[in-house]
Symmetry: C2
Subunit: 521 residues, 2 copies
């Protein structure tokens, strides 16, 4: 079957006798994205089979799948009646079930693909190629965004205004002046881009706001700051240590050891600037600040409740590929006490450590491009559309929350039971041990022990000491490769290839300019 | 396609023109478990198609899907070497992506199907038919359970003990006596059913505990009490009213207006006993009691935070089909102020209201068979297995919680923005109104107004009055059929067929005994 060659684990299982009913076990081992890929493959295969079947039966030619944007209606639309306008669109998306933001060759399951499908369907653009399209962030597979921005030229109802093409812009007036001048005029007249697009986009992708911009504006190059958030449960992580480790990241550093080097695409400079890092519980005051370096906001590491949600906030100018996930992987190691906070400083010392130790990235699920900043862009929000969005998002939230609350309730009950089982066992063991010792069977001794056990203070102390029984594996699923029994400190691990070697490799393959080698430090 | 008929949303999308490339949207809207179900469906369809194709091409007999329990290895296993033992198994499952507990003809995606697949694979039974199988509850599609119990005869390692077949049970000793007698002997020796099954079951179905029982024990008939929980977000629901309405349910009543009548299957008696009902916030003291009738535990209805999770707990002897979902539908109407709490008493008055008003059931997602009670069953929990289960369930919890926290954070930010938009609009409107009135432009008047606005007390009062802007649609997605602009009170709605008519109908169809008509009140 086509599907089996795609997934590594499948090849192992393919060796099992065909009668083995392991299908359900197989599926639960696959990731979300692998599952979706499998559905598509099998459906495609089914289409082929149906075609063959109908051929073999009637000899008729099967329907082919239509490609984006070539529906008959599209060809009839007269774009020449409209002007064009360069705008910035602010959007958010829950990306955990997508193959990333950018269009892929082998998958339509990307945010961009959905976006362009919507832009074409609503006839706001004629084609991607002619739309002067730029994107601010390039979020990967599974990653979400609360603030992604794109700049693009759209069909427009108005004849004059910021960004309207074919109109001579007053070169000596500032963007702000021009904005004010046209504001009243535009507010009533322009196409409601936000509403129009949201009607056809899938629920998990929403346009939040728009703003007309000069045609030279680029969402990619004009962005001066980006903030990421990473949401995770505390478990028994030491947030203070994580926060401390995070402070080493602030400033300008060479992050080659804290990212995935994208040399193939010409990235050879790994110096980036981080403005702020913060790790905190969300239920505490300031838990959701996007900045600040205060280290006293965290309480003691094992805050009792491993279920408490935390957020790591990282503000930077621009980010490298998988930089935040690599940082989180290391912060998690620090939080587990497997590494000291200083290890971050070590990893940033590329003279001492020119080659990256091997470690796995943290999960993509909790990562969110939370905020991006552009100077001079005054976003326009539509109150009605925002109201509608709140309702829709609450619906999504509820469906998640109901499941989550149910699971949590089950856990609470089971944890109570687990604790009781342990205590029963310990009590029984305690009694057995006691009975072996002379003198402990005396009535007075027994009475003293009972009194001790009944003493509230003693009880509480025993409970605290006993906390070791509590299962706090909540964050584990976000960290990969932690299955080894013996932990290997980062700086002692085998390393990846150096930057220089990679550059040489791609120069040989004639994909990079040989001059680049000289540019490296 | 098979898949399309299974998912409600699919039917809507099937109406879209075929050129629409929405497949990826479909998949990404599905939850993990729905995806797995889809994979199984398309693969099953795939097998069918291949069979048809090979039939049409070669005329050869295709491989048929092997039916449960007939794999070659199974035939080689020598069951005669083992004894049999009647046991009760306690299990839990997250059922939102299954087609219910009981086996369906047209779907393998049921809890029971998974259970039997596991029982056969581990060779704990030879076949369902010979396993003396009974189940306690019959949860429907989408419904979960924290405490489902089945009784079944399994392969056993021991030669004597409770429930071991072929051994003469001491007829005059009580179950408890016999249990004690065999306890030590059994604890070391018996097959670790819990562990063995959990290794092959899908993650969302877990065996929690087991207990050997006499062969006459039936999970279905020996259950004396069942408790359901229903988890939902508060929104702007009036919990006090809901709780009050719920109290009318306590006692023995005819629940024909608060269930889906299953006359076709011979259910003609709708009298059931409810022992307790309770609706409360979960974050409050006693929020998670399974009983009690105290009505003072709820705070004021609009507790500020529409996101607060609540739970309705209903304890009864036995339940009718969809009874809890029907009850929740009515409680939701009461909670929204669309009905008075008394409406429940009205619906229970079947003399005055012999025919059920038309209303939709509440969502299945939040429903959970939380606890079932059997006398004399001393469940055996395995500490290691429970530890393992906690870790697995925490993993599930985390993946839900990360998404939920992210969504909540987005909502928080957007709600703040929405509030600001409204205030800006209102302020602007306020100023415009003011400027129209004479005398308001005097500096003194203006100063007074500014002082007023700056006064903290005034600010707070304004904020409270303004709370109307807050979007509190969280519970909406759990209630169907609420889209009409004009609400129709339950007791004025068109009604469904009466019980008598339904019985007559099935008697005519010769599916029911004509004597039944006489038995009706």
């Amino acid at each position: 079957m086509m599907a089996e060659s795609q997934v590594g684990k499948e090849e192992t299982r393919a060796k099992l006798p065909p009668h083995q009913k392991h299908k359900q076990a197989l599926l639960s081992e696959l990731s979300r994205e692998e599952l979706e890929a499998r559905v598509k493959q099998v459906e495609a295969h089914n289409t082929q089979l149906r075609n063959l079947l109908s051929k073999s039966q009637t000899g008729a030619t099967p329907d082919s799948l239509s490609t984006h944007g070539k529906s008959p209606k599209q060809r009839d639309f007269d774009f020449s009646k409209y002007s064009c306008r360069h705008v910035a669109l602010k959007l958010c998306y829950l990306g955990w079930d997508y193959q990333g933001f950018t269009v892929q060759e082998d998958s339509h399951n990307t945010i961009e693909a959905q976006l362009f499908a919507a832009l074409l369907k609503t006839r706001l653009i004629q084609s991607r190629e002619t739309s002067n399209y730029h994107r601010c962030g390039r979020t990967d597979k599974g990653v979400s965004a609360f603030d992604q921005v794109i700049s693009i030229t759209l069909r427009s109802k108005v004849r004059k205004g910021i960004g309207v093409e074919g109109v001579t812009q007053e070169k000596d007036s500032s963007t702000t002046d021009r904005l004010k001048e046209y504001e009243k005029e535009e507010e009533e007249e322009e196409i409601n881009y936000v509403q129009l697009l949201n009607r056809v986009l899938p629920q998990e992708i929403r346009i939040l706001a728009w703003c007309p911009v000069p045609s030279e504006f680029s969402a990619r190059f004009d962005c001066c700051q980006r903030t990421y958030k990473y949401f995770f449960p505390q478990g028994s992580l030491d947030l203070q240590a994580m926060n401390q480790a995070g402070q080493h990241l602030v400033g300008e550093h060479d992050f080659r050891n804290l990212c995935k080097m994208d040399v193939a695409n010409g990235v050879v400079n790994f110096k980036r600037r981080i403005m702020a890092v913060r790790v905190a519980r969300m239920d505490q005051k300031d838990g959701e600040d996007t900045g600040g370096g205060s280290e006293d906001v965290n309480e003691s590491p094992s805050d009792g409740d491993g279920y408490g949600m935390c957020v790591a906030t990282i503000e930077g100018q621009a980010f490298l590929w998988h930089q935040v996930r690599a940082v989180m992987a290391v912060l998690f190691l620090v939080g587990q006490g497997k590494e000291q906070p200083d290890v971050v400083a070590e990893l940033l010392d590329v003279k001492t450590h020119p080659r990256k130790p091997q470690y796995c990235l943290a999960s993509d699920l909790p990562l969110n491009l939370w905020a991006v900043h552009f100077d001079g862009v005054a976003w326009r929000w539509d109150e009605d559309e925002l109201r509608r969005l709140l309702g829709q998002l609450q619906e999504v939230w509820t469906q998640q929350a109901v499941r989550n609350t149910m699971t949590r309730s089950m856990l609470k009950d089971l944890e109570g039971r687990y604790e009781r089982l342990i205590r029963v066992r310990e009590k029984r063991k305690g009694k057995e041990d006691e009975e072996k010792q002379p003198g402990n069977n005396e009535p007075e001794m027994k009475k003293m022990k009972r009194d001790e056990e009944n003493n509230e203070e003693v009880k509480m102390r025993m409970e605290e000491e006993d906390e070791g029984w509590r299962v706090k594996e909540q964050p584990a699923v976000l960290m990969s490769g932690n299955k080894c029994k013996v932990y290997r400190p980062l700086l002692t691990r085998p390393t990846c290839e150096s930057l220089e070697k990679r550059v040489e490799h791609y120069i040989k393959k004639q994909r990079l300019d040989p001059e680049l080698l000289k540019k490296l430090d």
